[in-house]
């Protein structure tokens, strides 16, 4: 186990908790964009890309950004077409996705 393998799951878990706090619990408006935008541009994709265990960290990061942008776009567009537009709901879904992926990997790594 290396530090790198634990870094991203820890970041995903921690940032998901922080985003959930500032978006749904504490009205910290100045901190909200600073936390939410990077979270949405990295973590949903990282939750998927980490599954593939790519060899290079920077590639993982790059692909995580691409997949995050794609997933955010696809889900937001689908919600708009389906007539259930709700940024808060979509944010909650992505927070849960990142949280579960991060915790699952943390547990798996720590168990091995």
């Amino acid at each position: 186990m290396t530090e790198r393998t634990l870094a991203w799951p820890a970041v995903m878990t921690g940032s998901a908790i922080l985003v959930a706090l500032v978006a749904f619990v504490l009205p910290l408006e100045p901190a909200r964009p600073v936390l939410v935008v990077p979270f949405l541009l990295i973590c949903p994709g990282m939750a998927l890309v980490r599954r593939f265990r790519l060899a290079e960290g920077w590639l993982e990061f790059l692909l995580a950004i691409g997949v995050s942008v794609a997933v955010d776009t696809l889900l937001a567009t689908a919600m708009a077409y389906a007539g259930v537009w709700s940024p808060r709901l979509l944010l909650a879904v992505l927070v849960w996705l990142s949280l579960i992926a991060g915790i699952e990997e943390l547990i798996r790594r720590l168990a091995t």
């Binding site: 909200r32 949405l40 955010d72 776009t73 937001a76 567009t77 708009a80």
Partner: protein, 657 residues
């Protein structure tokens, strides 16, 4: 069975002379695969070149200055730029654009950064962190100019995009009957979601630094692509540098094409990297150079990657995952932009048809996804615009006129800017052709790069795309053109280049930089907005009831950022055809259309940027806007309801309504 070897094409004498002029003793990297693919198999350069390589110790003796010198140059350049750019007075901009008011330090700063970059590039091994520092500094200086000098973000389209995202955020609906943007709404739903989730308000607040953000975003996919196509890290970074000093076409503002371009680069990067094959490369290997033996443990597709590429190590599970990622990325590109998915399809199809990509079924899947979107979600728009979209297929004259000829008009300054753009394009393409020849001369595999460079060009015979297709084709082919152009300067024989080559790189980049500042910011007089103009537009929204006609002299003003579908937006320029038959008289068509909107109201706005647009690009007959305003002031049906330093608003008089 061994494929037949093709002898390298014999270069013309002038090519040899050029090569001799650029060759020299720039040391090859100590680490990493051999540069630019001449050592195809054994990893050893020719003995003659080894003799010319200076020792590692000599470089190490150079001490801290070798590392710190270039870094300090770039940091000093950024500081100089930041100080200088704060002194820019946009009121003085003429038809030559921002370059006409840039102080000397701002002009010198990118040149200093280039010197630092070339200095770092010449070190052994090149320090990638330093190269990254130089590139980030360059991007900030070249693309952060707008954010630093403009009080209000531009261009006008940014404000329209903010209005579309605002509409979706407020209504949660996508109405494809409003306009074409709502038939490809992916980018706008994304930005509406981001602004809603993050509590940002209007996305216009994100617009100022969008060019810097997007260009930094492109860096990752560019490195992914280039390092798969060329193993010499100096070549990779030089191509990146050339990309940034020639990306003048300004498609990186807050817009669907800017984000889709990131997906375009990433998809091609993944496909070239993990699904690329090099059949042609083996065929074109120069005689006498032994081929690398294939390892039985290495998958065929990975083994057969471009000969000079960095080879990925991922196995079948990772490759399957990467294909899933490619499909997800393309699925996001399809609803986000009209043109980019077709550019992706063209590139992927070219790679597959010429045996450069093992994902043979991928183009078919992409076609199915595109057809599905067009059939089910943008059919209404296409049905209403089919003749417009298909009417110019094959009409090269019409398309050329729309993309080039129609742009060569307006003031003398503006025409000079258009010529500079053409010259910069021709220079870059010329360098790429020479780089292509030089690579070819040394038996290099140009096929994948060439395919991706030329794949967008067939679009030019399909339709004018509003006169922007040549720009878009330039944009899509730019990374690969930049890589070929870089291949001219870094020699293909391993020992990279002499001081002469370094000088040639510096000279070419400085010339391209000069062209960049004029080409990219040549429309600054038209495209920048003042605070007074934005205040006037906000006042217009305050006084105009929903359903009103909002008429502007030209489209160049910061409007449509709110109540996107609640008003009828028109421009005098669009009424021009009806006025031309009256000898350029704009009064009758303007009053005519305003009278049609007595209820709920009609408003006519003229701004400083409208006037600049009219004068520079010659959109309206000279003096016609002044005559129109004089006539409106005398008119009994229209009154001036608002005026500030940079804008005036006229409205139909309440009396008589």
């Amino acid at each position: 069975m061994q494929p037949a070897r093709r002898q390298p094409i014999q270069p013309p004498d002038w090519m040899q002379a050029l090569e001799h002029a650029l060759e020299g003793a720039w040391p090859r990297p100590d680490q990493g695969p051999p540069p630019f693919g001449v050592w195809l198999d054994d990893g050893h350069p020719p003995t003659k070149q080894i003799e010319r390589v200076p020792s590692v110790q000599r470089v190490e003796r150079a001490g801290v200055s070798v590392t710190a010198g270039p870094a300090l140059l770039s940091l000093a350049a950024v500081a100089l730029w930041a100080v200088g750019v704060g002194r820019v007075n946009l009121r003085g901009v003429n038809d030559l654009g921002l370059a006409s008011v840039l102080p000397l330090p701002v002009l010198a700063a990118p040149v200093m950064a280039t010197a630092g970059f070339v200095w770092t590039l010449s070190q052994r091994p090149p320090r990638r962190s330093m190269l990254l520092l130089h590139v980030v500094a360059l991007v900030v200086m070249l693309y952060g100019m707008n954010a630093m000098v403009e009080p209000v973000p531009g261009p006008n389209i940014v404000w329209r995009h903010a209005g579309i995202a605002d509409y979706i955020a407020r209504t949660g609906a996508i109405d494809p009957t409003i306009d074409a943007y709502f038939n490809w709404p992916g980018f706008f739903t994304l930005t509406a979601f981001l602004s809603g989730a993050a509590g940002l308000g209007s996305i216009a607040s994100m617009a100022a630094w969008a060019p810097v953000f997007f260009n930094l975003l492109y860096l990752g996919p560019l490195l992914l692509l280039f390092r798969r196509l060329a193993s010499d890290w100096r070549l990779v970074w030089l191509a990146v540098w050339l990309f940034y000093v020639t990306n003048w076409i300004h498609q990186d503002y807050l817009a669907p094409q800017a984000l889709s371009y990131f997906l375009y680069l990433l998809i091609l990067g993944i496909l070239v990297g993990w699904f690329g094959t090099d059949r042609a490369a083996v065929r074109f290997a120069p005689a006498g150079v032994p081929r690398r033996p294939r390892s039985p443990a290495t998958p065929r597709a990975v083994q057969s990657l471009s000969l000079d590429a960095v080879r990925p190590q991922e196995g079948p599970f990772q490759r399957a995952g990467l294909m899933v990622i490619v499909i997800v990325l393309f699925a996001a590109a399809v609803p986000s932009h009209q043109l980019t998915p077709f550019a992706i399809l063209a590139g992927v199809t070219a790679l597959v048809v010429f045996g450069r990509c093992s994902a043979r079924g991928l183009p078919w899947l992409m076609v199915v996804m595109l057809v599905a979107w067009i059939t089910f979600l943008s059919a209404g728009y296409l049905a209403g615009h089919l003749s417009e979209l298909s009417g110019n297929v094959g009409q090269v004259d019409t398309i050329a006129a729309a993309n080039v000829g129609n742009r060569l008009r307006g003031s003398a300054g503006h025409q000079l800017i258009v010529y500079i753009r053409l010259a910069v394009t021709a220079l870059l393409w010329g360098l790429a052709v020479l780089g292509w020849l030089r690579r070819r001369r040394h038996g290099q595999d140009n096929m994948t790069v060439t395919l991706l460079a030329v794949a967008p060009f067939p679009f030019l015979v399909l339709q004018p795309y509003g006169g922007e297709l040549l720009l878009r084709v330039y944009f899509f082919s730019l990374p690969f053109i930049a890589l070929l152009a870089a291949g001219l300067f870094l020699p293909v024989k391993g020992a990279a280049a002499s001081w002469r080559a370094a000088g040639a790189i510096g000279l070419a980049v400085v010339v391209l930089l000069g062209g960049f500042l004029f080409a990219r910011y040549g429309n600054e007089r038209i495209e920048h907005f003042t605070t007074e103009e934005l205040v006037a537009v906000r006042h217009l929204y305050e006084i105009a009831p929903p359903g009103s006609l909002l008429l502007a002299a030209t489209p160049d003003l910061p409007w449509k950022f709110q109540d996107y579908a609640s008003y009828d937006y028109r421009t005098v320029a669009s009424l021009k055809s009806s006025s031309e038959s009256r000898g350029g008289d704009l009064v009758k068509p303007v009053l005519g259309i305003m009278r049609q909107y007595r209820r709920p109201g009609a408003y006519f706005i003229v701004t400083r940027s409208n006037r600049a647009d009219t004068e520079a690009r010659g959109i309206l007959p000279p003096g016609s806007l002044d005559r129109l305003e004089q006539a409106l002031r005398r008119s009994s049906t229209v009154q001036l309801v608002y005026a500030n330093q940079d804008a005036r608003i006229y409205a139909l008089r309440a009396v008589g309504r």
